[in-house]
């Protein structure tokens, strides 16, 4: 296991104050803080090797291209992928849209009689399957695809305990694509993605997994998920903003029409028509985010240094503690699984008689940064009949004292609003 106190010294922001009190950062599910090693890696690139990649033959262009492609290798290794399976995107949302647009664009081309891979053509009578616990990023692109093509959107519901209700018949012979979240950003639930991906493949559908809340927090081998595609963001795993990863099986990536088109993604260009480079370049039009890729690779090295098993074990311990402490508070209800079985570190809760915004505000007054709102999972909130929740998310730099501060913040909100303030224990 790693030493949290020592590791915190790598994160300059964690020593600052907010509202006149020391910061307690419990919003890593929204974005993580960055260690100086990541910041230094980006700065080092700009100071020493900055150039546009995959163009130019001068020394800096070579160094920059080498650094960019080395970053791709590091990131691929981190999740057990082949290097050509890793596409750099601006964020996880773009990765999901890239796949949704492959379907949309292939369907458009098929309507014009052009030769496209039929696996990406959808229309009336076909279905796309998601879950009721998707982040809007893994819901709206599929709603849009269905609206454009006439396909039907279906979803697995959620049990009262916050688990997926994997009913037979949701995935059937009409299903062309299944896209599900690995770990819910609102409920914390870790879903049986392998089982669902196998169900998709059994009916000839392709499948995708949203890894935003799992890759930063637990060991993930993309091939073991049984999926065809996966997407996640860099900024939630100590990396910079402005970079995300789409992982896809090479054979599929190379069968897909491009998403954004332009420079860098071409093979041959004529005035009448053009051909495209193989993946991943096919999906990286324009000068890409080189410094961010280098920063993200450094973040992977940082996490590898800690050991992802250790990261997961640390967070499991913190999550168990958080759930125990919340259970001791009267008038506080956790939305999602109440034990650590198949559960990650995102813990959402509601406080009787106090709106989540007010809970969050009064916690903020004590320096405790938590997320409030629907967490881009509005249908999930509706499923539990709550307008919003307050959410604690932890990471490598948090310890039990941070949770104690959060609990004190909740109690202070209860006292302030004159609702039940007595802890049972």
């Amino acid at each position: 296991m790693f030493d949290v106190d020592k590791l915190r010294e790598d994160f300059p922001i964690l020593s600052r104050s907010v509202r006149g009190v020391p910061l307690v950062y419990l919003d890593s599910g929204a974005t993580s803080q960055k260690p100086f090693q990541v910041l230094d890696a980006e700065r080092h690139f700009y100071e020493n090797s900055n150039a546009a990649v995959h163009r130019g033959a001068h020394a800096l262009a070579e160094e920059a291209t080498d650094a960019y492609e080395s970053a791709r290798e590091t990131i691929a290794t981190f999740v057990g992928a082949q290097v050509e399976e890793i596409v750099f995107t601006k964020n996880a949302t773009e990765g999901i849209n890239l796949v949704a647009y492959a379907f949309s664009n292939a369907t458009d081309k098929a309507r014009q009689g052009l030769d496209v891979d039929q696996r990406f053509v959808v229309g009336p009578g076909d279905s796309i399957v998601v879950t009721e616990m998707e982040h809007h990023a893994n819901l709206i692109p599929w709603q849009e695809l269905c609206a454009k093509t006439g396909a039907t959107l279906r979803w697995f519901g959620i049990t009262e305990q916050g688990r997926l209700n994997i009913e037979p018949g949701v995935i059937d012979h009409t299903t062309k694509f299944v896209s599900i979240v690995h770990q819910s950003n609102l409920l914390g639930t870790i879903n049986p993605v392998r089982e669902i991906m196998d169900m998709a493949h059994a009916v000839g559908a392709l499948g995708m997994v949203d890894l935003c809340q799992s890759v930063p927090h637990m060991p993930v081998d993309v091939h073991e998920l049984g999926a065809d595609f996966a997407s996640w963001s860099g900024h939630k795993m100590l990396g910079p903003t402005g970079i995300g990863i789409l992982w896809g099986k090479s054979e599929l990536l190379n069968a897909m029409p491009p998403f954004l088109s332009g420079g860098s993604m071409i093979e041959m260009v004529h005035m009448e028509q053009s051909t495209y480079a193989p993946a991943p370049q096919r999906f990286e039009a324009g000068v890409p985010m080189v410094a961010q890729a280098i920063g993200l690779a450094r973040a992977c090295d940082y996490l590898t240094g800690l050991g992802m098993e250790n990261v997961f074990a640390h967070e499991q311990e913190l999550t168990a503690y958080t759930l125990d402490e919340l259970a001791k508070l009267e008038g506080v209800r956790v939305i999602g699984p109440v034990d650590t079985h198949d559960r990650g570190s995102a813990v959402s809760f509601v406080v009787d008689g106090i709106h989540p915004h007010d809970v969050g505000h009064l916690m903020d007054a004590k320096g405790v940064a938590v997320r409030v709102g629907h967490h881009c999972c509005w249908p999930t909130c509706r499923r539990f009949d709550v307008p919003a929740t307050t959410r604690i998310t932890t990471y490598i730099y948090n310890d039990k004292s941070d949770i104690d501060q959060a609990i004190a913040g909740i109690k202070s909100a209860q006292e302030f609003f004159g609702t039940s303030a007595k802890a049972i224990a």
Binding site: I354, H355, P356, H357, D358, H361, L362, A365, K366, V372, G373, H374, W378, C381, P387, A388, S412, F416, F417
Partner: protein, 152 residues
């Protein structure tokens, strides 16, 4: 703690809302939602004696949004659109002030309690949502001030 935000007046209106779900002969309704947090408010307007406004609201949300709707309905009900307009303008100006404006109690009465809200960018929408719904409902009901253009 956080007393600049949670004034006693705000907590009082939150716990004892005025004008919530009161029966009025509604001429128009406006439903507004804050997409960042899911707070919702529905405001109804009607015509009272001597062309004054009647205001009723319903909704769910944080203390700031609910108290603001309560204060608004109390302030605006019984005023003509012309009398209400300067109050509405003053409240909007207060919310945009980033805590730099001394509110005029003569005009805003209980609504001065929201001065502190303007220091918290994330909460301004909470305070404004019901006021936006009221303006929208007034336009729909053609209960806007005479000084405003009425092209129809």
């Amino acid at each position: 703690m956080s007393q600049d935000l949670y004034q006693e007046i705000i907590l009082d209106h939150y716990k004892n809302p005025r004008g919530k779900k009161v029966e009025i002969a509604s001429l128009a309704q406006s439903y507004q939602v804050n997409p960042t947090c899911g707070d919702e408010v529905t405001v109804d307007v009607g015509r009272g004696p001597d062309g004054t406004l009647l205001v009723s609201y319903d909704g769910q949300g944080c203390s700031i949004s609910q108290a603001s709707a309560s204060v608004m309905s109390e302030l605006i009900t019984g005023k003509t659109p012309d009398q209400a307009a300067p109050i509405q303008a003053a409240f909007l100006e207060l919310m945009k002030s980033k805590g730099q404006l001394e509110p005029d109690e003569e005009v805003l009465e209980d609504a001065i309690a929201f001065a502190g809200v303007s220091k918290y960018p994330a909460r301004i929408k909470c305070a404004l949502i019901s006021w936006m719904a009221l303006s929208d409902a007034q336009i729909k009901a053609q209960l806007t001030p005479i000084t405003m253009t009425r092209s129809e």
